[in-house]
Symmetry: C2
């Protein structure tokens, strides 16, 4: 059942002992939205806490500063930015008891009893900001920081096409309400472990280019990660960089897993459909970002993809 803002206001006003669920592999949007909602409920004198199936990376600690870490039997469960019960991870068995879900993913499975879904919003934080504004909620600096974090992280710091005018205007409002935008962005975007740069350096040292510079292949082995004591976030960093190479229409990143198997990530520009290409090996995803598992011979799997890409681009390998 769809819950409009008036109904969301009722649910929150009537709630007691609220558990706020966020998705596994937590990001700035689910945590920022969760923290802002938690602070609002606490300001109403209710008990509330944010939970996640996974450890929360320490860079997000500021979102939860001063919040009580309570354990209690919830009387109301709200999920934020969680499109599918599977994304709750080890908390999935709570999915049937979710009273309200606030989300912005068009793929939301409507698993909650009531759902406030805004698929045009670039971040769940924008949906919650609109709720707060229409309900006349007093937003303090901590809430503003939390909501700004969601907006900024889910839009690549206002770079992506999901950063629409409303999103920028919400950010402006939140800055006026006390969000420390520059500090948050340094923390979220401008700070990476040295090991990630070292692995990036190693990966580029082995770069292969095909199709006259239109296709790049970077390979990251477990040995590289081990040598620099890098974590698997490094995969995302290198994959993001591969899409930034000028002239490259398809950036391929091959990532060795702990069990020795390989995953392949694709980032494409027009006219290449990353999802269709990865479909060749049973994978999938979006038009511009997709992935698949390589077979036992990862180089043979790469060749399968390269042959198809070369055909699509009408070029020799």
């Amino acid at each position: 059942m769809q819950a409009d803002i008036r109904r969301v206001g009722e649910i929150l006003a009537d709630s007691e002992d609220v558990l706020i669920l966020t998705h596994k592999n937590p990001d700035g949007d689910c945590l920022g939205t969760g923290a802002a909602l938690c602070r609002y409920l606490l300001s109403l004198g209710k008990r509330a806490t944010v939970v996640n199936a996974d450890p929360i990376p320490s860079k997000f600690d500021y979102l939860f500063e001063g919040l009580p870490q309570e354990t209690f039997e919830p009387k109301c469960i709200v999920s934020v930015d969680v499109a599918d019960p599977k994304l709750l991870g080890s908390l999935e068995d709570l999915a049937d008891r979710v009273d309200l879900c606030i989300d912005h993913h068009i793929s939301n499975t409507l698993y909650a009893k009531e759902t406030h879904l805004c698929p045009d919003d670039g971040a769940a934080a924008l949906s919650l900001y609109r709720i707060f504004r229409e309900l006349g909620v007093a937003i303090d600096a901590d809430m503003a920081n939390a909501l700004y974090t969601g907006l900024s992280t889910d839009t690549g710091c206002f770079r992506y096409s999901n950063a629409n005018a409303e999103c920028y205007r919400a950010a402006a409002d939140l800055i006026e309400l006390g969000a420390d935008n520059a500090w948050i962005n340094v923390k979220m975007f401008e700070t990476k472990p040295l090991a990630q740069f070292q692995v990036l350096s190693d990966a580029f040292a082995g770069l292969r280019m095909y199709c006259d510079g239109k296709v790049s292949v970077l390979k990251i082995s477990q040995a590289m990660l081990a040598q620099h004591a890098a974590d698997t976030d490094t995969f995302d960093f290198v994959t993001a960089m591969s899409r930034q190479i000028e002239g490259v229409l398809c950036g391929i990143t091959m990532k060795e897993q702990e069990d020795g198997s390989w995953k392949i990530s694709l980032r494409t520009h027009e006219p290449l459909d990353a999802s269709a290409i990865c479909g060749l090996l049973g994978g999938g995803g979006h038009m511009r970002a997709a992935g698949c598992n390589a077979g036992p011979d990862e180089e043979a799997s790469l060749q399968t993809l390269l042959s198809y890409i070369a055909e699509q681009l009408g070029c020799a390998l």
Copy 2:
């Protein structure tokens, strides 16, 4: 003489055959602001053109699409985003004839006959947007793209502390007026020549760390640039990356010049004053970003800086 917005409107309305000056080593803000102003003057039926002492990088071509490339004897000269006549490069002899300067640098030398200076603005494009809005100028999509480009590039895509609420709100307005924000940001921020990544890789392969990970040193030789046919923009890319290493309070980048001499760039976090450190070698700049020339033995110069930094941080080298 300070020109308020009403006076700027008069000058522009009365102008004929307008030459718009931008600063050497042109960036998105001077070019975007210049292009938007040029389009406005053309819409009033005047002749106008944007000039620069240096070649304009091709990534900015879209700003000038459809603009006539005319040569004429100017009756009015306007400079945008130019704080000092020296920044006009080979066009410096026109400085005495500048009728109006629109700028946001507190360091503006007030060389123009009249100056509209807004030192709190994160970009000259924000100052011009405010002028347009208060004068009731009809902003079309091309003008919106140009102004958005200035806003975004001078604020690191809304990351830096100079991106205030007004800046975000202006961006929101410009998106509604037709600015293609996602396309512009991919072009400005997410596209870099392959050679830059290759030099970055080589530089990190030779990374040195001091003071328990608080100081990093990267060295870029002319040989590295030559090997990958990289341009000197690579220096900026590597310097920017050095500041993103987690835990590093001082990122030092040493850059060999074409004549074999070395320049040193510093990026710092609190408590290190980059300008004071570079002052040891006769250089200077800002608190968080500064530079200097190394002496004939660049490693000895580095040692001078490192010793001072270690003292400041109270650590052994």
